[in-house]
C-alpha cells in the first residue's frame, strides 16, 4: 500500500496563502487506510485551516470533498466542477492523485497536501514500514522472502556487510539488519546454501531510471476502435 503523511499545516497554509477559493480533495484508497488523506483528515484539515485564518484575520473559502480513487480519471471527473470552480485544488491523496488532477486540468493549479512516502506494510495500527522500493525485478525468492533492497540500508545484494553487529544495522542501531533476518529465515527454511551464493550486480534498468516507467497489459488495453467516441461516465 502507498503510505503518505500529511504535510505540516503551516506549509500547507503557506502554499495556499494567496488563493481565495480552495478545494481540498481526499481519496478513499491507500491514503485513507494509512490515515493521511481520508474524509476525516480532509475535514480536520479544512477546519484547522479555517481556525488558523481566523487567528490571522484572513478570509479564504475552503471546501473539502473525497473521491473514491484520485488516481483514476473517472472518479476525478465526478468532481470536475468543484475543481474548476476553485482557484486552487489541494490534493490530499498520494502524488499520483495530485498528478492525475494536474494532468487532467493543466491550467488549473493542483498542490499536494501530503508527502507520499513509501510502499509500506501496516505492522500494527498506526505503524507502517517500508518493505519494497518498486525496483521492478523482484528477487525475494532467493533471500528468504525478505527484500534487501528496501530493508538493508545499503541495499546490498550479498550481505551482511561488516557493519552488521548484534543483528543491528550500523547505519541506524534501532533498525534490524536485513541480512541477519535473511540468514535466520533461510536457516528456518533449510536453504542456507543460498546465502553463500554470490548474486551478481542487479539489472537496475527496471528500476527508477531513464524517466517514468510504464507497465502495460496489452490485452487489457482498449483498441482505438473500442475507444472511439466513448468516454466512461460513472
Amino acid at each position: 500500500m502507498i503510505v503518505a503523511k500529511r504535510k505540516p499545516l503551516g506549509e500547507i497554509a503557506e502554499m495556499l496563502a494567496s488563493y481565495k477559493k480552495v478545494t481540498v480533495i481526499g481519496c478513499r484508497s491507500c491514503v485513507a487506510i494509512c490515515l493521511a488523506g481520508g474524509e476525516k483528515e480532509v475535514k480536520m484539515l479544512v477546519s484547522a485551516l479555517k481556525i488558523r485564518n481566523r487567528k490571522e484575520g484572513k478570509r479564504q473559502d475552503f471546501e473539502g470533498l473525497v473521491v473514491e480513487r484520485q488516481c483514476e480519471k473517472e472518479w476525478v471527473k465526478e468532481v470536475e466542477d468543484k475543481i474548476l470552480g476553485s482557484d486552487i485544488t489541494l490534493s490530499m491523496a498520494c502524488s499520483l492523485g495530485a498528478q492525475t488532477i494536474g494532468d487532467m486540468y493543466p491550467k488549473h493549479l493542483t498542490f499536494p497536501g501530503l508527502n507520499t512516502g513509501i510502499f509500506g506494510v501496516p505492522e500494527e495500527q498506526g505503524v507502517w514500514s517500508e518493505k519494497c522500493v518498486g525496483c521492478g525485478d523482484c528477487i525475494i525468492h532467493t533471500t528468504g522472502g525478505i527484500c534487501p533492497i528496501s530493508r538493508c540500508a545499503k541495499s546490498m545484494l550479498n550481505g551482511p556487510c561488516g557493519g552488521s553487529a548484534d543483528r543491528k544495522c550500523e547505519v541506524n542501531l534501532e533498525v534490524e539488519c536485513a541480512w541477519a533476518a535473511i540468514y535466520d529465515r533461510l536457516k528456518l527454511q533449510n536453504r542456507l546454501d543460498l546465502i553463500e551464493r554470490i548474486t551478481p550486480a542487479k539489472d537496475w534498468s527496471t528500476s527508477h531510471s531513464g524517466g517514468r516507467r510504464v507497465f502495460v497489459r496489452e490485452d487489457a488495453k482498449l483498441t482505438q476502435h473500442q475507444k472511439k467516441g466513448k468516454e466512461v461516465v460513472l
Binding site: P8, L9, G10, A13, K40, K43, M44, S47, A48, L49, K50, I51, R52, R54, K55, E56, G57
Partner: protein, 137 residues
Amino acid sequence: MTDRRPKIVGFCCEKHGADAAVLAARSGKHIDASVRLVQVPCTGRIDGIHLLSALEEGADAVFVLGCLEKNCYYDTGSIEGRKRVGYVKQVLAEAGIEKERVEMFNAASTNAWAFPEAAAKMVEVAKRLGPIGGGEK
C-alpha cells in the same frame, strides 16, 4: 447583544464524566457559567473534528472529560479519547494555534473535584489566551 467571553465547550462521557459533573454540582461546587457541556456516550466517540469545529464555531477552549483510563466504562474509551485530543493538539500546534486550548481530563464518578478543576483550568486558559483572532468570528 454582546458576545460574551470566554466560551468553553466540554465534551463529557455519559458515564464517569457526566456523573462527576453531577456530583460536583450536588457537592455545591461553583462552575463558571461559560462552560457548555456536550454529552457523548464515551470519549472514544470524540472525533478530532468535533473539537476543531467547536473552536471554529467560536469556542476559546475545548476540553474532554472521560473516565479514568484504567477504569473506563467502555474499557479503552478514554484512552482513545486522549489520543484524539493529542492529535488535535498536534494539528493546532502546526496551524500556529496554542495547543493548550484543547485538553483531556479524566475523572471517576466519585471525584467531585475533577470537573470543577478541569473547568477552572480551561477558563483560566481561555481568559489568558483570549479568543482566537481577537474575537471576530
